[in-house]
């Protein structure tokens, strides 16, 4: 009797500890995002003190500052945050669904699918605005389904999805590079945006489709987050626990690809943003609850931070994707090495 109460209380204790850790992680992440957001607003070619920034934000016209805050820094901060949320959210959903940290949309080429569609729409069809996002989402979903279908052979092995995705990504990348060479005015900034991601041409009006995507697809993902978590136990166990595995997969895939594609249609396929956010969030939480929302927060912090680093901390100004690419690759290599050492099947 006493033994059971003791184990009960230790279990409750453990549960409390886990909840506390989760809360702490979320609080720190939110604080980081807020700090980075303000930093992006304050720093540019010149420094804007907080008091002046507050005056600009409530609508006062401060000569010289108003323009740079409203036209340059605010779009950057808002879009960096929103697309970061999308990348983190979608990336984590993929990693959880396929039970593999390497099966993130930016490694298996889904980002590049959306990017290819956006480039095609903008350069060849000369579209702009929300239509581009719609096409990017459709193309992202088509690429995701194609990868899934191509790797389906008596079930889907995680390693096969990754390899098929690498092949698809190679094709898409050369398509993007080719389409860009056909552009009437070939422009290095544009090329980098569509190959590795950049916030340089962010406009505040572009935030609308991203917000809509976050609400619709993000809500869809959250409503399925319990089913998604049971999927990590394996398909059979999940089915035994009452999850409709096939349906969950489809819904999660569509929602995650939707998030990633809309973000990509606007800032380009920010290299490894999705991969890094999901993996970092999983490490921070260390198994304490669903990784989706923390991953989204990590994504926002990561994109804002990388953009800040790329703009101000390096000898020259670099777009965000170059920074995340340079950060993500060593981490991917570290992950490969670590999985090897623990003897994990890769």
């Amino acid at each position: 009797m006493t033994a059971t109460t003791a184990s009960m209380s230790s279990m409750l204790e453990g549960r409390r500890n886990r909840a506390r850790r989760r809360q702490m992680v979320m609080t720190i992440l939110l604080a980081m995002i807020a700090a980075l957001f303000l930093l992006t607003l304050m720093l540019g070619q010149s420094f804007t003190p907080p008091a002046e920034l507050a005056r600009v934000l409530i609508g006062e016209d401060v000569p010289g500052v108003s323009f740079s805050v409203w036209q340059l820094r605010l779009p950057r901060a808002v879009l960096g945050m929103l697309t970061g949320l999308c990348f983190g959210f979608g990336g984590a959903a993929f990693q959880v669904m396929l039970r593999n940290p390497l099966a993130s949309p930016d490694i298996i080429g889904i980002n590049l699918g959306a990017s290819a569609a956006a480039v095609f729409a903008i350069v060849v069809l000369q579209w702009n605005g929300p239509l581009v996002s719609v096409l990017a989402v459709l193309a992202g979903i088509a690429v995701a389904l194609a990868i899934y279908g191509l790797s389906f052979r008596n079930g889907v092995a995680g390693s096969r999805i990754i390899l098929v995705g690498i092949g698809v990504a190679a094709m898409l990348e050369s398509f993007i590079a080719y389409t860009l060479t056909q552009a009437p005015s070939w422009n290095l900034q544009e090329a980098i945006r569509w190959l590795s991601g950049s916030l340089n041409s962010a406009q505040l009006s572009q935030a609308v489709p991203v917000l809509v995507a976050l609400v619709v697809f993000g809500g869809l993902l959250l409503s399925r987050s319990r089913d998604l978590d049971t999927l990590t136990l394996g398909d059979d166990t999940a089915a035994g626990l009452g999850t409709d595995v096939a349906q969950t997969r489809i819904i999660v895939m569509v929602a995650a690809v939707g998030l990633i594609s809309v973000a990509t249609a606007i800032v380009g396929p920010v290299s490894f943003a999705a991969f890094l956010s999901g993996s970092i969030a999983a490490r921070l939480l260390a198994g304490n609850g669903s990784v989706l929302v923390p991953a989204a927060l990590v994504g926002a912090a990561l994109v804002l931070l990388s953009d800040y680093v790329g703009q101000f901390l390096l000898p020259s100004r670099y777009p965000v994707g170059v920074v995340t690419g340079a950060l993500g690759a060593p981490y991917l290599i570290f992950l490969i090495v670590r999985l090897n050492r623990t003897g994990g099947s890769l």
Binding site: L102, I107, L150, S151, R153, A157, S159, R160, I162, L163, V164, I166, G167, V168, A169, A170, M171, E173, S174, F175, A177, Y178, L180, T181, Q182, W186, L188, A191, I192, L195, S196, S271, F272, L314, P315, S316, R317, Y318, G321, V322, V323, G325, A326, G328, A329, P330, L332, I333, I336, V337, L339, N340, R341, G343, L346
Partner: protein, 347 residues
């Protein structure tokens, strides 16, 4: 086994391929290459009659048609050289690593060469074509070793999946670094395009000749290591038991492959998948004996690249597709097909 191989006493392999049938295939491949070269000179964005082609081949450049053909000749030559180098390098790398997915593009070698050249041009003032090629080869060698070491750490050695992932990670990192080096330098930024997609469009005899000694050295090293690769295919212990110095055999063969793809990348930019597709097709035709496989991959690579170049010129008239785009669209589906047909244990 090795003795027997040396004396050539196994005229047939297990699939019953006789040397005679292999010779027939070799002749067919050479004939195909000749036909493709002719096609490559004759076909292009501008349609040219036979009279002009013949006179251009004799060295006349009086009309626009003849001038167009005169441009196609060095281009065809470069496609033949680059294709054979990449095909052979792929076959050697697959032999050295005993890994079916080893390809200069997948191993990140091409981007390693790109990065080295870009760094050389931007920071060390590399300008001569000769120095270009040296830097590219050094970059190719370093990244090949790097990717292979990462891919083979831990249990199970270098599985195809680990190698491919290590290659992808390295490629993305290198691509980021290339951008980072080039972006502040508007004077060389225009070149970034040619470092993303490889092509043979701008070929000249001079640039091709600069690379020729490196290609020749790589060709000799690679082709001469066929026998050693055969021993290596039996496994390291078996090869050592047969009296092979395993590390030395690996190093010489790999050096040959790196010379080949480094020099090619220096001249043409990154061209992927030729080294993956060609050796696999050739293995279907002539079997796994490297003494046949290597020459076949050389010719096959040339055939593939010349054909891809011709397709690129026809497919997007009036403009043209870079050959690197065409090989990606031929090679990537092939890669996916291979992945699907591997047993999942091997992945």
């Amino acid at each position: 086994m090795k003795l027997a191989l040396r004396q050539g006493q196994f005229p047939r392999d297990r699939a019953g391929r006789s040397n005679r049938s292999r010779r027939a295939w070799l002749a067919a491949a050479l004939a195909l290459l000749a036909a493709l070269c002719l096609l490559s000179v004759a076909v292009g964005t501008r349609q040219v009659g036979w009279v002009d082609i013949v006179s251009a081949l004799r060295g006349q450049v009086a009309t626009i048609e003849q001038a167009a053909v005169a441009v196609r000749i060095p281009r065809t030559l470069l496609a033949v050289l680059a294709g054979s180098a990449l095909g052979l390098a792929g076959a050697v790398m697959q032999g050295v690593t005993r890994n079916p997915l080893a390809d200069p593009g997948i191993l990140g070698v091409n981007l390693g060469a790109s990065l080295a050249v870009v760094v050389g041009v931007a920071w060390f003032g590399v300008t001569s074509a000769d120095a270009y090629i040296w830097t590219a080869i050094v970059g190719a060698a370093l990244s090949a070793v790097f990717v292979y070491v990462i891919g083979s750490l831990g249990r199970g050695g270098a599985t195809p999946l680990k190698l491919a992932l290590a290659g992808v990670a390295t490629s993305v990192a290198f691509a980021s670094f290339v951008t980072a080096v080039i972006l502040p330098r508007t004077d060389i930024a225009g070149g970034i395009q040619s470092w993303r997609v490889g092509g043979v469009g701008g070929a000249t005899f001079d640039a091709t000749l600069e690379a020729a000694p490196f290609l020749a050295a790589g060709l000799l090293l690679s082709l001469s290591s066929a026998r050693r690769l055969n021993s290596l295919a039996l496994g390291d212990e078996m090869a050592a038991g047969l009296g092979e110095r395993v590390a030395l055999a690996r190093a010489t063969a790999a050096l040959g492959a790196v010379l080949l793809c480094g020099a090619t990348t220096a001249v043409c930019g990154p061209i992927g998948f030729v080294g993956l597709v060609v050796p696999h097709l050739c293995r279907q035709l002539v079997g796994v004996d490297h003494r046949w496989l290597l020459p076949f991959s050389t010719i096959g690579g040339a055939c593939l690249l010349v054909a891809a170049d011709v397709v690129g010129r026809i497919a997007a008239r009036p403009s043209e597709l870079e050959v690197g785009v065409v090989t990606a669209f031929i090679g990537a589906p092939f890669f996916i097909w291979m992945v699907r047909h591997q047993r999942s244990r091997q992945l």
